[in-house]
Symmetry: C3
Subunit: 477 residues, 3 copies
């Protein structure tokens, strides 16, 4: 049994009294600003249905969150035992109390990790848990969580309001008809919850499911896709539909950020090979490089902000992928060459005042070497928040220390939480606000900026940069 579980009001602030005092002041001026969540993976269904509930503690905290279950997997636990369904479904732990118990007994694995911080913050701040989670306290805490999760005050919509979220964007396959967003728009929640257009599945021409995706996209876009030019037509049309449903952005997950325009004939030749199931890895790479050019062109024309997330080797563990599908914690970053890769796109569109591009990297060695210099030059380019493994106190600190001196803060896109764990949204934004305020306090304490500038910058980091980057200011004005 341990003492009462508590959050330090000064967490993530430097211990030096001078810096800490400045950090506190800055933080107190931004902590209650509304949350702008312009990129993430919340499930729009949960928000479209006023009766929806978040499920059991295991369903909320463990089963859908690869940030969590990968850590237990790394120590020898089987995913089935954590409630993650294999495709063959031969074995699966269905007792959510036992899943929770396993998780609680291994909670020490998350010591000094951001996931550990978020989980603790959620349990204490969102759910009012007062004893430290471990194997001994596990079932008592389960009881308390389970009871609360059944209350309407813990429904997704109630939490959305309580979290003070001004606007949240989901990430939606290009093939989506956006039923839930239509419902939300009809109910007047359209400015609060917006879709994002993500056409990855359509653009990876050697994917097993690619032909299905094209067929689906024909149906949903109303354009019969027979060739490359009708694909382009369908993309343009369905982007417009997303825009009408509130989208301000697109998102592109690519292995490398290589960009290169093909002729329409070359692009169509690849498309035809793909239709007949003959596209290979080279086709995929070339089509991806070309379609990034096309997506940038469309963004110039329709004003949707373009996001690129590059450099993840998806499904590194082939056996696990075959049994459990994607997003099981085995996506591993690789080194990336942004300077050469993005040159053609930036030369073509990087100076276009209609264009905005936000890029995200998992290769921190490119922060200072490539991305900050690029963002500090090309008008269209902003650098996205520290992504994934770097959405953490040290990740943020390295980002700030490495990027800002070259790019300044006004060539960055503020923060996004990128999470599928809905209840962790406030904890994640709070960590960013604390870390940026502490970093600014360090700048003040070392005489680099003055208090006046620091106050404005704190609010910019917490709120304005993201709103401006994703053109949510224009939209909500």
């Amino acid at each position: 049994m341990t003492d009462e579980w508590q959050l330090s009001p000064d967490r993530n602030f430097d211990p030096d009294p001078t810096q800490r005092s400045i950090a506190r002041d800055l933080y107190s001026s931004v902590k209650d600003l509304p949350i702008i969540s312009p990129h993430g993976h919340a499930d729009p269904r949960l928000l479209a249905d006023p009766q929806a509930q978040l499920g059991s503690p295991a369903e909320l905290f463990i089963i859908p969150d690869h940030y969590v279950f990968r850590m237990l997997y790394s120590q020898g636990h089987q995913l089935e035992d954590l409630g993650v369904s294999p495709r063959d479904a031969t074995t699966l732990e269905t007792d959510h109390r036992r899943i929770w118990q396993r998780f609680a007994e291994n909670f020490h694995l998350f010591r000094a990790t951001p996931t550990g911080q978020w989980l603790r913050d959620e349990l204490i701040e969102v759910f009012g848990i007062q004893e430290k989670l471990d194997g001994e306290s596990a079932q008592r805490i389960y009881d308390e969580l389970d009871a609360k999760l059944r209350q309407t005050s813990f429904s997704p919509r109630a939490l959305f309001e309580r979290f003070n979220i001004e606007t949240l964007s989901t990430t939606d396959p290009a093939t989506s008809a956006l039923e839930h967003h239509q419902t939300l728009q009809e109910e007047g929640w359209g400015q609060k919850i917006r879709p994002t257009f993500r056409p990855d599945a359509l653009l990876s021409v050697d994917n097993a499911g690619w032909q299905n995706s094209v067929e689906q996209f024909s149906n949903v876009s109303g354009v019969s896709i027979q060739d490359y030019s009708s694909l382009i037509q369908a993309l343009e049309a369905h982007r417009q539909f997303f825009k009408r449903m509130g989208a301000t952005a697109t998102d592109h997950g690519v292995f490398t950020p290589h960009t290169h325009r093909l002729s329409d004939d070359e692009a169509n030749a690849i498309f035809q090979r793909a239709l007949s199931g003959k596209a290979d890895a080279t086709d995929t790479a070339e089509f991806s490089a070309h379609m990034l050019m096309e997506m940038a062109r469309m963004s110039c024309e329709d004003g949707l902000v373009m996001q690129i997330h590059a450099g993840s080797f998806r499904n590194h563990n082939q056996g696990l992928y075959e049994r459990f599908g994607p997003d099981t914690g085995s996506d591993i970053p690789v080194g990336v060459d942004w300077t050469r890769g993005m040159r053609e796109l930036l030369n073509a569109y990087g100076g276009d005042p209609r264009f905005r591009l936000i890029v995200f990297t998992l290769d921190e060695s490119t922060y200072g070497r490539e991305l900050a210099p690029l963002a500090g030059h090309y008008p269209a380019l902003l650098l996205g928040a520290p992504w994934w493994f770097y959405d953490s106190p040290n990740g943020m600190r390295r980002y700030l220390d490495t990027v800002i001196e070259t790019a300044g803060i006004y060539n960055t896109a503020g923060f996004n939480d990128d999470t599928r764990a809905f209840a962790s949204i406030p904890a994640r934004h709070d960590m960013w606000r604390r870390v940026t305020c502490n970093w600014l306090a360090g700048q003040v304490a070392t005489g680099i900026i003055d208090q006046e500038d620091a106050s404005e910058m704190a609010a910019d980091f917490a709120y304005h940069l993201a709103k401006r980057a994703y053109r949510l200011d224009a939209e909500t004005a």
Copy 2:
């Protein structure tokens, strides 16, 4: 309207009172040491002419400084509107007050950047400005600067003396006849202001202007260059001329630091292809790799210190380059392989006691991985100061934290300012002195070094390392 603009006497010092107090003591012991500026881009014409003036505030702070105008460009301002002349010269803002106003209104873009710190330091320390620069104060500050810049006490020579510069090296094309340095030498300023031999234009055989450069070099060196062997002869001769004009070093800007000796016949074959305008990218790469070997050989023989600056993708923005030429803020770093690239050169010359090589990188991931181990082994090799984007408080801190544990401080080359902004020279050296003293204070406070060692090291960082690295001790002795 804001309070009086001030510089904290403790800027760049850690807020911890123990560390800060040690940092103050160390800094006070080195802050008045003369400035050694062994590599930079000051204009020798300004110093050769006792009547020269620095021009308008826009001419001093904005128009020639790509560190400054790139940041405004990145936020959508046109270079023409900042006074930067396009080649076609169709539009150009010629009202320097309006250029200054635009700059002042956007001064917040430089918050937390080293450029912002240098500008503030210059305005306050060199020009005595007392109110914070912004759109409201812009014209009053312009008036004050403009008046001072017309005074003889603000002439380049007067500032040179006031800045307490012991010696400053300019960077000069190999094709230069060094008229200004001749004037300076005649007036007895030859030990104060020295040229540096930079043959890049001659050695990039697929450059548009290459044939012109060769012709010019024939004229200036007095050697008629018809083939590879006469090129070598001309290089050897003109290096001697630079040496007589006070040069102690050469400088080589290359895309990659790959080194490889060709046979003379192979080198001549490339040279002949270049003469007939048929050299391609492979020729350029091979000739560059070979000429680095030759330049090292010549350095062994004539004692000029060799500098290599590698890893910048020059003129990444092709359209801007075509309109405005080079040095417009679109040079973007790439990853570099020093270990394999420099092996042939270091195997051939790295142990030669006559040879000294100083290398500079924009790929910080090579500090600890490649450059510190190389400098900590090869006798000829020193690691140059943090370069360009890393000439900043955090850039310096990362350099010190990553390099020194492996290479020690005595395998580094101290500081150089590398600037074309003459009035920023003291601010840049001051930042280096502050950051190194603060870093040493941290070492003392954590028991790694003692006070006695720290005092010597502070003076080494501030003054002696650079003087020794560039063989200015021998020269001025």
Copy 3:
């Protein structure tokens, strides 16, 4: 003459009083834990012979330690003058007092380096030296050291006990008959001093000495090696012998961590080419990639923990290598691609509960980008301690800051000293304990972990992680 030479009791602790106070408490709880030294290069002969002595001060501190003599070499001193024997042996300083004098006069080169810290710690803590080492004090200190080194209380075995080493693993060529370990086992020291199976020389098929190694290995393993399959048989058999002699691990030094299984026929074809002296660099690379797969397979079967040290360009200075052989300070790291390189091995064996793999990198850019995500996923994989140039206060700090947020501490392998400098073992472990306690204190002071967790983690870092990683808990239980 300087003041008394002292070690700060708070060395490596942050100067902030709050953090320092927590660090002190944590450190005091772990500083007296026994030393687990599971990977290093101590000479088993010294420990097998109760009469052995460590030799002269030059033999102990300088001649065998490339960490030390490389630094003097980098400043122009010749290895011969430091007592390092060239193969031709034309010149060699044999006066150990003069070697010591040269070293002492250049002791300032080690300021702010970990080697400098270890040396100071050893001289003060192990040998009771009380005045600072420099050219003036050199001979007095030599006298004192020399006298002590002749005492039995400074014999290797006496120091082993005094250092409170619980278990130490040496690194032994696969071709070794482990005579010294046999002696140790017979005397009951078998659990204290263990061998490690390192087959690098056997697996580099284009090495000059490869055929000799194979012949030696035939003799020592008792398996006549004629082809690939008998090589495998011999490896399996001799691993068993190492295991009986106390080994719990193997070690593999490779240029790249590329892994790829060949067919047995392909492997045998390379083996046969090698036997006839016709193997080339491609053969070597492919054989290495294949043998890593085989070594992992064997580890699954016999339970020996597999270590991979990758990314060092050995003997970069060819001329020095030819004169002095390997390990003369010219091994230089290169960038490494772990994500693609290790995929085949991790897909095949990374989920096998019998398998444990510990990897070490010299490319710090892979800590956060590749290794922490891999270790935070694959059950078999642990990340080894900061290696070689990064076995230093800042190297450890960067490791902790970059790795732990993603991998947690329980996917790391604790510390190992990797040293051939026997007397430096306590200083190295002490540095790790200080730096980890200080890092944990920072986590407590910023509210990320609580005191209870920090205490457990401090002991894990200092002792338990290494013991568990190398399966020394099972062995000594």
